[in-house]
Symmetry: C2
């Protein structure tokens, strides 16, 4: 039972890779680029909740089409030191830039979706005019 701070569930590289639907090579690639930094038990990589969280953020960033180095600056932002006032102000500025970027994407996305809806409408009309 030992109630120490043993929130220490860990995973192997195969486990996280399979869980997130990527290869171990991909996971290691992200480590090479400094996106995740698993500990080592001897020579073996040990992944914790923090690493899985970051991996999730990375993959979502990829689905959104961000390059990996940009993704790194984004998720590093979440872990950045925010002790001093100047640091916090810097972080808040970065947040604003990020939001502007994301909102541009959402506009593009919404435009694409409404166009698609209009196009579907036209197709359905065409279809309704075809007999049989």
């Amino acid at each position: 039972m030992a109630s120490r701070s043993e929130d220490e569930q860990t995973w192997t590289i195969r486990e996280v890779a399979e869980e997130f639907g990527v290869t171990h090579r991909t996971v290691r690639h992200y480590e090479e680029l400094g996106l995740i930094t698993p500990e080592r038990r001897g020579t073996t990589r040990v992944y914790r909740r923090r690493d899985r969280t970051r991996l999730g953020l990375i993959l979502r960033g990829k689905r959104l089409g961000f390059p990996l180095d940009e993704i790194r600056t984004i998720i590093d932002l979440y872990d950045a030191p925010r002790g001093r006032r100047s640091q916090l102000e810097y972080v808040l500025g970065q947040i604003d830039e990020r939001r502007a970027d994301l909102e541009q994407r959402r506009r593009d996305l919404d435009d694409a979706l409404t166009e698609l809806a209009r196009f579907e409408e036209r197709c359905r009309e065409d279809l309704s005019r075809i007999p049989r």
Copy 2:
């Protein structure tokens, strides 16, 4: 005023490139991949409204993180023949797939934005606790 079908405004490659903020090499690359097919006046490329429309769609697709060959299938869809019933049904099916993809992206995007908002909130709280 000569009312012929002279909706024939044209542009050169430099013009469209500059207008859309890309290089002529990029425009030619898209042509190599069959994403746009400008006519030729002799050997020179001639761009019309249709090409500009497609270029706009391509670049929006890129901002959304789609690969170029996927973008081609998407915008080709808009120009696909829809004469027969089977063709229309195929197109409608493709539209559904596209929409599912785009909506997944929007979910990711909204998640990212709400997380960002929460994070900003925390930063502002931290900031309010710092004197001076």
